[in-house]
Symmetry: C2
Subunit: 307 residues, 2 copies
């Protein structure tokens, strides 16, 4: 099959390139630890060549999303305001001079107080995760992307209306690696009961995370939680806080949010699925290779596909 | 003047010893970086001698509070259940064999769901911070001890009824030293406006800390906050979350909490005073050298004073 598009998910720590045919099927996939944080300014052309296996083809259109379009990336692709759908995003690709590469803009939205929230790369995954018929679906749906900075996005008729970021994954890593709780949680183990207890403790609006976190210390201290369960309990506390707050965010926007689409790494999505179920929220898993699908759909909409 | 009591505030990282006369006045004060975390088991007798300047007197009673009574300390002084006042604490001192040293117990309390909270050392500071006439005061008052693990304690008629811990200081240090926000906040500066904005953003019950923290990234990114203000904004977000949650904790206990007593390091108390004022909470500063005063009062109550 002929390669019609090279689609690159180019993030902070790694880059992944997909060769796609004219129907968007993945022909080949390559990845490299050449994330934006690891490439010096000026070295992006050679990083791209390395990622693609030695040479950058001059006859194939390329598209990239993620931190590659940030101020620390190759060329800055300014944020687009929400709401934004395929048309708005596809019309705002930023070309990289001297190449056939175009960069997908990130998105920005503002809450009622004018405080901004941003995403780069997730907009493409969200558009890729939608089922083919969903892009035109009128009813709003909610897409959740678990991760270092988890995103909850409200999607309506193929447009991303608004979104909210939660620093769940980064806080978990900080607490595990550097806090007094992490020293307790050093004994690894899987404890589903501890995880569910953590979720249940921090879901209610009356919960207070900076207080509840201390119970990951006092419970094992008083025999109320096995040391092996501290890591899962901590994870539960953080997920419960995220889900509780996100649900209230949806309610303020008069969205029911009783079912969501999960997009991300399988084990992490499964963890979210269990936590969401405790909150009475159903979840389904979004289409696989969401970034590649999203990049292909945006490229097709933008008219850069030549085959 | 003759030394009637040696009183030691012996914490995780440092120890401070006070020589007190028969009326509780401080005659001398010594400190050393010989906190519990820095002393090997079995080395506590020599650490005490070093702290006291070479020799441990055999003719003077000694009393200590803090982590020295934890499982990692010299001798474990089991937690006392709340409510606990002078009498309950003074009757539960744990003697250290072979010395005239006694250790003040920490306190434990449980919330409506049975989740425990603990303190060690702060109970002594709280009892020391009360004005002489306050120990018998019937109306409840609230004592706040800012720090790595801030404590809010509800005190009634000289008894500590209940308390709640907030990991505010530890979270601030983690975020400044190890997070993506800390890298932004590397440029130090004092920005009172940014601090107050952070407090105001996270005081309301509708606030969600793991989401709001991300605004310490998006605001400077979009020109809505100077980089010099990121540290103070972050501090404000964490203090606002603590104060908002603590106020709701007091309300659930039907305590008005419109004024509190602050006990701790002066600059940190001033920061709390400003944040509390934004929440409409008045604050006064507790008596200085609260730990020494508390240790002296507990020793007197316990009958170990011989002069």
């Amino acid at each position: 099959m002929t390669v019609a598009l090279i689609a690159i998910d180019w993030g902070t720590s790694a880059a992944r390139a997909y060769s796609l045919d004219a129907r968007g099927a993945i022909l080949d996939e390559r990845s490299a630890a050449l994330g934006v944080q690891k490439v010096d300014p000026g070295e992006f052309p050679s990083a791209l060549a390395t990622l693609l296996g030695g040479a950058v083809p001059s006859d194939i259109p390329m598209i990239a999303c993620g931190m590659i379009g940030s101020r620390q990336g190759w060329v800055e692709a300014p944020y687009r305001e929400c709401p934004a759908g395929f048309a708005a995003i596809a019309s705002a690709l930023t070309p990289v001079p001297g190449t056939r590469l175009r960069i997908v803009p990130g998105l920005i939205c503002r809450d009622a107080d004018g405080v901004p929230d941003v995403m780069r790369g997730e907009e493409t995954q969200i558009l890729g995760a939608l089922e083919d018929d969903a892009s035109g679906r009128a009813a709003p749906h909610v897409v959740v992307l678990p991760g270092t900075h988890s995103k909850w996005a409200l999607v309506e008729a193929g447009r991303i209306e608004a979104f909210a970021t939660f620093m769940t994954g980064e806080l978990y890593a900080l607490l595990r690696e550097h806090s007094i709780l992490g020293r307790l949680a050093a004994r690894d183990g899987r404890d589903d009961g501890a995880f569910e207890r953590g979720v249940a403790a921090s879901l209610p609006q009356a919960a207070a995370l900076t207080h509840d976190l201390f119970s990951a210390r006092t419970l094992p201290l008083t025999g109320g939680l096995a040391l092996e369960g501290v890591g899962d309990y901590l994870s539960g506390l953080l997920l419960g806080a995220e889900i509780g707050a996100a649900r209230r965010w949806l309610q303020r926007r008069t969205v029911k949010g009783d079912s969501v689409i999960l997009v991300g790494e399988a084990a992490l999505c499964e963890r979210y699925r269990r936590a969401l179920a405790l909150a009475g929220i159903e979840s389904t898993t979004g289409a696989a290779a969401a970034a590649a699908r999203g990049l292909w759909r945006i490229a097709r909409q933008s008219g850069i596909l030549t085959r």
